[in-house]
Subunit: 319 residues, 4 copies
């Protein structure tokens, strides 16, 4: 392995830069040349590629976003697009490729692997929606960003005695809502994995009010109905003034937390080690607090388990 | 003056607690008893009132929201409601009242003043929409909260090459949009005080993109059209992917900044001094970096001037 | 089990309040009465004890410090002191006790367990110096607090082209230095578990400077020599201006991170469950991402392992 | 005026980048070429100078430090050094120079002005130690950084019932200590401008403790005795455990606040306007909330006034 490439693909996540840094420095430490591919698979198709040195990744470990930029790429999903990519990889002499992204990005990596390019996937997405790994890079930062907003909303809600619905990201995965709901002391948490009953949410709001609670937080995963309509319904049923906040893209940015920087650094280094060992088509994850790697197809076929115990715990702790 | 009261009214703002603390401690320092009135004018009508001591305001200077809670109060706008309030004030022996809030709250204070209660208004609102004072308590904190979100949105926008519309608060006053737009390096700022032309906004986006800008921020004051429709229009006209974030109630919370705590502390102390001097119906403000006080009616009649120079400056600095 | 007590002991750590909240609410949910004991074992000896209800722990999950306050207690280390404590426990009808703290606190809990009180230990200390658990409550928050300071010091160091020594806490455990050094991109990390060679640190500084690095960070665990003398020595040997920052007690405070709040909430709930199951003398930990509990004596006898792999990784990533 | 230069000099301050950005963009907007001079007057002497374009200052408004880097320069204080600088200015065709820094930097600018180069000074220092301007760039950010640390120290102090001495920067100017003391709710503030009496500080600590205060903060400006010795003395006299934190260089970094970014942007633009008007040897300041400019010599001769009223206010508010 003389030359490897690295790209970030799909939605960006805080910590991607820490992963890029680890890939680049570990490679150079091992005498391997690293090419930075811009804007995900687009850069691979269009040859938007530049060699990276130690300084290319200086002063980026603490920055949100990705210096390689990212994009979704329709063309790469076609046979023709991938052929272009393979030609470009050949021209640049890239034998191994590290792909930092989510499931769509991994599928692309797997296809390149079948075509003879050694590829390794690193899970970078705030959604924590990959079943094969306990944590994805960016999830911890997103949780803390959500909590910061919850704290601010608490202040004003307590002053006014309001209920608040806070809609967070997740794309069919309730982890951000669940864990930020637990950590934020939310009264109710609405996730796609569990049915919810508006009447019991309302009952809890009223009980809380009667007990003297100054405010209530309802954490809502995106994609489950309309937050504003939910707010209206709750207001009508309880008589408690209810406000809605949709946190949106704020959740994707920010300086990564210690947890995400460490996870990203370890995964980036491991990716290069795997390439040196001749591995390909592997997804890196963390399970039971240990780095693991497994076949990308297998990884993607696994079904994400919802943590029912934590969900039940949130009910007990918010009585 | 043996006994005074203090209340917070209208929308809450970070720094209100610092003002309450200053009122309470300055009063006690001067041998005056202080009664804390809960939930704005409602507490005045309903007698929801408790004496405060030095410890009542311990450890609150750095907290968002208001420990006295706040509310809007329709009943107080009626003659009958105000009569109840006057009776309550008499019962509790409250001779002077410090009202922390916005224009509506001040009007109430003025009415009480005409009825013989000595009242002083302190401007507490994040909107900075009071013409007679350069700054209101909470405005500086809100600006910094907005900037924190702008930074996070920058990260992800730069990764994806997107434009972003960020809708901020202001209620007919563009100050939050204007100053956070300047400080956040926004490409365009849309405020109620100035006409805007969507074509020139689009032109600027395209020029920026051609120059290599990775992202663009459009700061939008609430109440000027629909942010999502604006986003769609921009996307169609420019072909640049555009995302919308409505910051919402997050802007009302958070630990107050140094600026807001200092302003609130000074104004709170001054309010008590004015009461001691026998003044009434006065609004405290800061102008040209000096505390001032003026007749509440005069204060409310003044017309808020939009800072056209700053607006023009933002255009030059975002070329 | 009808009544349990909860106390925090030793140095405080962010997340202790989240643990208290979980203990109280899980107990009440299960029909158990909870007594809050103030200032660690002192409160136990002096009967500084009050019943807690659902509202006692409202609005504290996000606050640093501990509402029960904490202290070290010499008297409790004596037989006589512990007899007093046992009497007090009897008087208040406390059958089970949850102790949140570090190793000294756990030893106390173990002694009470031998005397017939059912006790459970929850690891609360920023130092992460307990061998039997992968993480202690407060460690993740401390890491992020350190990183925030590292970012600020980076800014000014890069402007001036300086090296910086940053001394962090740890009490004979290098984990804060190690993990914040990895996540902060430190050039060198000095921990008690590994010998260090000042000449190789200096060599690295000079190489970095020659390569164009604008600044360098040396992360130093407290207790290893004098930071200021080290700074002088480095300055003399390299000619690079070197500044020293001792972060100190700032590391112990702050709103807990999502990770610490979740860990604390889970551990607090588990502690009550263990008491209900009739367990005693158990320390709760997290290993391989799963909650575990083990005999306190065994837990305290385990030897903390330094993560040599991570230490080596920091060298590769900072070349 | 066809070409101007810009440099930052002396200690760095958050907001310097916002000022550089404003200088560059305002100049280019007016058809003027801008040269960026690296590392203060050193770059001027050594010709470390590069043309800046619109993109040179993209994405820097929110970053701490200075992209032009900074340094103190002994050589420039000599006649010979300044002759070199004048030659370099001529070679690069630089007719006007914007100097961002403190008093030493301004003296240099004044000397260049006398030698025929048009110079304008912008006050950039966290210390707020320039008498002619109400605020310097970086001061507001430093205050907020200090407050963030005060909040964290409060948490742990309240848990332990300790007193804390927090030493802040200021170089013979007590403004950081004074204003962060007011905003942080410090019990005592020790500044170079006012004598202090350790016995009355101790008395206040004891009174506070007796009143039930869980913690006390003593804000200390650097350079007034030894913080650790002061801590020991207080501990001995009061019996209250006392901890010392020296905040150090953390205060110089961090993303600038809204206030500092706005002030810097306005001052940067004004500097270019003044050069266009043919002005020279002028220092820009803000007084009574309005931008002003005055002769540098006059500005530096003014004597900084300590705000005694604010100092007295802090005593009242911390009873």
């Amino acid at each position: 392995m003389k030359t490897i490439g690295v790209l970030t693909s799909g939605g960006d996540a805080p910590g991607m830069n820490a992963a890029i840094r680890a890939v680049v420095r570990t490679a150079i430490y091992n005498g391997i040349k690293v090419m930075g591919i811009q804007q995900g698979y687009n850069g691979l198709i269009n040859g938007n590629i530049k060699e990276m040195d130690l300084s290319s990744v200086g002063d980026i470990i603490h920055r949100g976003g990705t210096i390689l930029r990212t994009a979704r790429c329709e063309e790469f999903k076609t046979e023709e697009g991938r052929q272009k990519a393979l030609t470009v990889l050949k021209v640049f002499g890239i034998e191994g490729l590290v792909v930092i992204g989510g499931d769509g990005s991994f599928q692309g990596a797997q296809k390149l692997s079948h075509a003879g390019i050694k590829t390794i996937g690193i899970p970078g997405t705030i959604d924590n929606d990959l079943a094969y790994t306990d944590y994805t890079i960016g999830f911890d930062t997103a949780l803390n960003t959500v909590l910061d907003s919850v704290s601010k909303i608490r202040d004003t809600s307590a002053s006014h005695g309001r209920a608040n619905i806070i809609e967070v990201m997740g794309r069919h995965c309730g982890d951000i809502a669940l864990y930020s709901g637990l950590a934020g002391g939310a009264e109710s948490i609405i996730v796609p994995e569990e049915d919810f009953d508006i009447d019991s949410i309302c009952k809890k709001l009223i009980q809380g009010k009667n007990r003297g609670k100054l405010h209530s937080i309802i954490m809502l995963a995106e994609g489950i109905g309309n937050a504003f309509e939910l707010g209206k319904e709750i207001e009508e049923k309880t008589g408690i003034e209810t406000r809605v906040t949709i946190l949106g893209h704020v959740q994707r940015g920010g300086s990564p937390t210690a947890f995400d920087r460490i996870l990203a650094s370890r995964m980036g280094a491991r990716a290069v080690e795997l390439l040196i060992e001749g591995k390909s088509g592997r997804a890196i994850g963390i399970r039971n607090n240990k780095l693991v790697d497994m076949d990308i197809d297998e990884a993607l076929e696994m079904e994400k388990k919802f943590d029912k115990d934590i969900y039940e715990l949130t009910k007990i702790l918010s009585i």
